[in-house]
Symmetry: C2
Subunit: 356 residues, 2 copies
């Protein structure tokens, strides 16, 4: 494999010294970029982009052409696993993702098979290989998956949900059925992320988008326990380098100690958590990724720069910080504002690092 | 005034001994009750119920007829203040609240006048007096208001919002305009809650429904600081009894210490916080209210009872707990399940109290 030219991101995840704080944005290949909208218009729709490795590669690289980002992230959807399990993913305009065959009882859960990624999701593995090749060592490539709980919410509800009523009903009234579902998902996620790693992903992130909708106790039982199993099951190093794992539970700020105990390399923080307090709590165990409110990107450039400074100061000097937004960048953001953000991270963070 | 027959709720708020843990439910006078739906059908719509003191009294008392609740809460809307300021509140089916005249610039904020509750919101004060009279000392009556930040989000967005983009844009780009708006709202809330107290409310709750959408720093600047001003400005005792203040920031579990420092009597917890950990953090300063996940009410009765037991055990023996849901009860809940919940609180909590 080609030598990595910019390894700031991987070094920061391992809490090693860096020259400046590395930065990337969740959903950085997305609708706020006119070139992304153009690619998507040509491809037809979102899934057509995901399932075509060349197109997926094209849009993955677009933000890197514009901005000095320190990592690329595979362009894909979190719902590829349930789709591969036969649930029939589709998207309805303005409605978000939907499944033709939701999973709502024991029989449906029993019928699910653990995925074989290279066979069932060839297009994802081909996308990883293509992107890694095209990146040519420029920055590391991040692979990802939804968490078992997050995937389960879409599978049981049949799409997005406000209160996750059906999913929680299954968890509360038929915990054995929910655990069977989560176990199959956890095994599938392990297989999926390991296949991504073998195909070339140099770090992986688990998106637990809806873990924060659970109570403290239910989070541990239905989300965290399965993420721990995933961390345990992942390939620890590949191609002579450790493969870091980032765990991101949106709304998980109260549970950082529990999350750090999974053995993850890094915790993703949403913007509600004070990153300085988070570092004091778990900074000797894990790196931290985050955590600017994505809506700050709607503010004036000077305000964006001020916020970047403030978060860098809250984290303080030393190692173990990957700058990111606290959630995905939204479609209406001005791409110039994203640029201001990314450059501010590099500009202002140098003083917090002695290295190089 | 008539002597209070059941003062468990007020005693628990003051962390005084009680025989069993008091319980009420946010939105207990609501659409899950067939008798509420009937009253609403007769009245015409939601605002017709709110603005008619007799009707508001009727629906406030409905859940007390069904369940052994330990408090009544004024039936009203959190958006009465902006409506009284002239923004033109209306409700569109399935769309939630809307304002005809949103407040989106300095000029609009400057034009707002601080409300005079007895004059501008006579119907609310009349409802408080009517309910208090009809309660006849059965249980205490809770008055309430939205927090300044929460009211501001609806006023600036013109209704509900997913990411509060306009409101945050105002906060980030024109903080002086946002602070002017929040200051006017804080003064209005003080006047509004004090008028409710003088009309007969025996405790008040501040609903900071959207404070949890802010970053740690922005929460303090734009939400918490104004709630502290409100707590400072409230009448401390009336009719020979202290008037407790409950502060409820949904999603505020990371900020309990800051919230307790406002001087509030009690903090409302959503279901994501471990109430045992919360008690360890701030239990020597404030009482705690909460915190069962409202979706548990969709589970089987035995599972509901188990969850009640678990929360009581997490809080542990001693004083200072008001049982509640972590958010409002939802329209599709079976009223029998709400009954199971409320009775379980009284049944299982006796062992945690020595009093009486």
């Amino acid at each position: 494999m080609t030598e990595l030219k910019n390894d700031r991101f991987l070094r920061a995840l391992q809490r090693q010294p860096v020259d400046v704080t590395p930065v990337w944005m969740m959903r950085q290949a997305g609708r706020y970029l006119p070139e992304y909208r153009a690619s998507r218009a040509v491809a037809g729709d979102f899934m057509a982009l995901c399932t075509n490795p060349e197109k997926a590669c094209e849009v993955t690289l677009q933000p890197l052409e514009r901005y000095p980002l320190d990592a690329a992230i595979l362009f894909s959807d979190i719902l590829t696993i349930p789709d591969a399990m036969g649930l029939g993913l589709y998207f309805e305009a303005g409605e978000g993702p939907r499944f033709r065959k939701p999973v709502q009882d024991a029989k449906a859960v029993e019928a699910l098979e653990i995925i074989k990624p290279e066979q069932d999701l060839t297009y994802v593995m081909d996308a990883v290989r293509t992107i890694r090749h095209e990146l040519n060592g420029r920055v590391p490539l991040i692979g990802f998956s939804g968490s078992p709980w997050t995937l389960a919410t879409y599978m049981v509800e049949g799409g997005s949900s406000k209160d996750f009523r059906r999913t929680k009903q299954m968890a509360y009234n038929q915990p054995e059925v929910m655990h069977m579902l989560l176990e199959k998902l956890a095994q599938s996620v392990v297989a999926y992320l390991n296949a991504q790693i073998l195909a070339g992903a140099q770090a992986v992130q688990i998106f637990d988008t809806w873990g924060g909708a659970l109570s403290h106790a239910a989070y541990q039982e239905f989300s965290l326990d399965y993420m721990r199993k995933i961390v345990d099951g992942l390939i620890k190093s590949n191609d002579g380098r450790d493969v870091p794992v980032i765990l991101f539970t949106k709304g998980g700020g109260q549970w950082l100690e529990l999350m750090a105990d999974t053995g993850a390399t890094c915790l993703g923080l949403d913007w509600t958590t004070d990153i300085g307090a988070a570092r004091a709590r778990v900074g000797n165990q894990v790196a931290l990724q985050g955590n600017m409110d994505p809506t700050i990107l709607y503010a004036k450039p000077e305000r964006i720069r001020q916020e970047v400074k403030s978060i860098l100061s809250r984290f303080g000097p030393g190692n173990g910080h990957v700058f990111n937004l606290g959630h995905g960048i939204t479609p209406e953001v001005d791409p110039a504002h994203a640029g201001v953000f990314i450059e501010a991270v590099h500009e202002f963070s140098a003083e917090f690092h002695d290295a190089q």
